[in-house]
Symmetry: C2
Subunit: 203 residues, 2 copies
DNA sequence: ACTTTATTTGACTATTCAGTACAATTCATC
DNA sequence: GATGAATTGTACTGAATAGTCAAATAAAGT
């Protein structure tokens, strides 16, 4: 029964994600969203209830695409500390390659929408906490392998990685200079063993 | 000749600053601004041309109040490295004491308004660059006094301080736990001599 | 072919928004 | 206390906004 969707939901969500990412929540109108998603007014509201709900879905979609991709990148690295370095390398490449989708949709939105909406905020905050937990886990693996000192405060370092991630988003606005940004990253990661130590590969 | 202003300009600007700071640019309407500033429609536009121009003035006012205060704090410290620590201590106190004006108006706005307005963006970016230059200068003084290693990459560390500042803004959203935040700051500043080394005071 | 149900369409509403117009008011100066 | 420019109050405009609705359409099952 019934008729197929003209535009697949995931595709429409992806378009909305890019728009919110590049412009923020308030600066993005339903008209713009519609157009980018290839939907008419009615379909938009039929499919996504309203702008606010759409945004919540977009945040979830962001988690399942961008965030998951980076998580996989870290986990697939030859060692946890190389995973951390790869993560920041990926951020660097991403940011140098686009002016349009700067930083992280999650944290950008957390800053823009701080007190604006309870549900949205808590969604965004949970995204940040997820990262933090992931860093704690990754750094614990580093520690177990002796890649960082046993006495290191893992939670503090995890917080520092979050801070570095977000801090880079701001630096990118001012410097599009790879060498400089690389030096900031290296400096921030100097508690890790010197880069790309080749670890024992599996037979 | 003529009549005095009902509300002094600096006072109106201060009110506008707090509103923009807590809500961001787009989420703040002229109606709200008017009300907070104690002005009627006509006076608002008479005194501040329009919302956009007001915002530019607010950014300038922010520089002359909040930013200058912190700069003075750093410069008045017993040593440059203690100045850096004092700066982050001040940020920590500020953030723990208010939920309403989170982070830095300057960088928050840079993120919200990235591609929205050329003039505003370049104003905000110059604010970031000013800080960076200030950190370079401060760290150079540290180096001259032997507080940090001679071979340290000052520019990278300056970038790191900017990143740490901004990164904390995001962490504050999730953790209002002094001990944790303090540990992140300490961890980020561990290239400085251990805190509050009492330096030779002037006679 | 007909019915059912999901989707699409585009016109419509009501509200909020930034910004304007201009008359009324105030007050330092003459 | 009259003058006139600087300030204020308020009603207005037009554009953009988010969101609604009901009729039109397409597919799938009977």
């Amino acid at each position: 029964m019934s008729r197929a969707l003209k535009v697949p939901r995931h595709q429409a969500l992806q378009a909305a994600m890019l728009l919110f990412w590049s412009q923020g929540y308030h600066a993005t109108s339903v008209d713009q969203l519609q157009a980018a998603m290839g939907l008419q007014r009615g379909s938009f509201y039929y499919l996504f209830k309203d702008k606010r709900r759409l945004f919540l879905e977009v945040v979830a979609a962001y988690k399942n695409s961008v965030v998951e991709r980076r998580r996989t990148l870290v986990q697939g690295a030859s060692s946890p500390s190389n995973g951390v370095r790869l993560f920041f390398q990926d951020i660097l490449e991403h940011s140098l390659s686009t002016l349009v989708y700067p930083g992280c949709l999650n944290t950008n939105s957390a800053i823009e929408l701080g007190l604006f909406d309870q549900e949205i905020s808590s969604q965004l905050e949970s995204g940040i906490q997820t990262w933090e937990a992931f860093w704690v886990e990754t750094l614990t693996r580093c520690q177990a392998l002796g890649e960082i000192e046993a006495k290191s405060d893992i939670h503090a370092k995890a917080g520092l990685l979050i801070a570095l991630t977000q801090g880079l988003n701001v630096l990118f606005k001012v410097h599009r200079d790879r060498a400089f940004l690389q030096s900031v990253i290296d400096s921030g990661l100097d508690f890790l063993p010197a880069s790309s130590r080749v670890t024992v590969t599996q037979k």
